[in-house]
Amino acid sequence: MVGAAQRSNSAVTASAVRLFSATSTASQATPSSSTASPSTSSSDDSQISLLRNQLKYYAVAEIKNRPYLITKNDIIVLDRLKDVQLGDVIELNQIKELGSKDYAIQGAPYVSSEYYSIKATVIEQPKGKIVETFKKKRRKHFQRRYHIKPLHTLLRVSELEVKA
């Protein structure tokens, strides 16, 4: 299902239509909504080749049900993952949107994994600074100070490639 949005780019390039196409994951049995029917293979190829001809890409990855808009070389700051070690490479396969300057593929709910290869390396698992939450109800003699020292996992996006 292709929807087109008119959007003019910078003065350097001619104004182009920004195409959005929804692709469902291969494992999904039925489409999530009536508008998100999978495209035919020929139009899929032409759409992905439009994306392939661009230079820079971004992706909206979903990790632990939270979206992260990432490009290559970015650092993702997550809450601590218990089951990873330093140096582990994680393949991200829940990608909600894969796009470039002029084109984007919106997943329904996720983009089919044959179109991309996105990997992230665990580079650090630090402790954050103390965060204080202060609660007070005035004139009620109630106040509390909660202190948290959050644990994080930092992932470096080592690879973000669009495959034809």
Binding site: K56, I70, N73, E124, Q125, P126, V131
Partner: protein, 134 residues
């Protein structure tokens, strides 16, 4: 913007290099606060050193002082943790904390993604956007 004179390192993109390069364990043979530390050194440290060959492990007595673990990182900074009166399991937790850090100061991470790449879709400009229609 002029190119930087030093290489811009992006640990993890091509190769991943663990940032902790040395752990120094100080203990006192006589004082009671080093009891858990001495037990850790005898029981768990050798296993840890074998599992992490990139970390140089140094054990040195430091008489009449509390037991201390000092981690040295690739950016030249160090982190010092006093482990007085701690049990070996707690000390193992502190060692893991030092091993997994990178020598930076503890800081508040305000944004979920830290990025130095320019925006892919470009910055919005009122002169290049479709005019608002009602």
């Amino acid at each position: 913007m002029p190119a930087p004179l030093h290489p811009v390192l992006k640990n993890g993109v091509g190769a991943f290099i663990p940032q902790c390069r040395r752990l120094v364990f100080h203990y006192c043979e006589r004082s009671g606060s080093s009891r858990g530390m001495i037990e850790y050194l005898k029981k768990d440290l050798i296993q840890f050193a074998k599992e992490h060959p990139h970390v140089e492990v140094i054990v040195t007595p430091r008489p009449s002082k509390h037991p201390v673990i000092r981690g040295l990182y690739l950016n030249g900074k160090d982190k010092v943790v006093c482990v007085r009166n701690m049990e070996p399991t707690d000390i193992a937790g502190k060692v893991a904390l030092l091993k997994e850090s990178a020598g930076n100061r503890m800081k508040v991470f305000k944004k979920p993604v830290i990025s130095t790449t320019e925006s892919v879709r470009g910055i919005w400009s009122p002169f290049h956007a479709a005019p608002h229609k009602i």
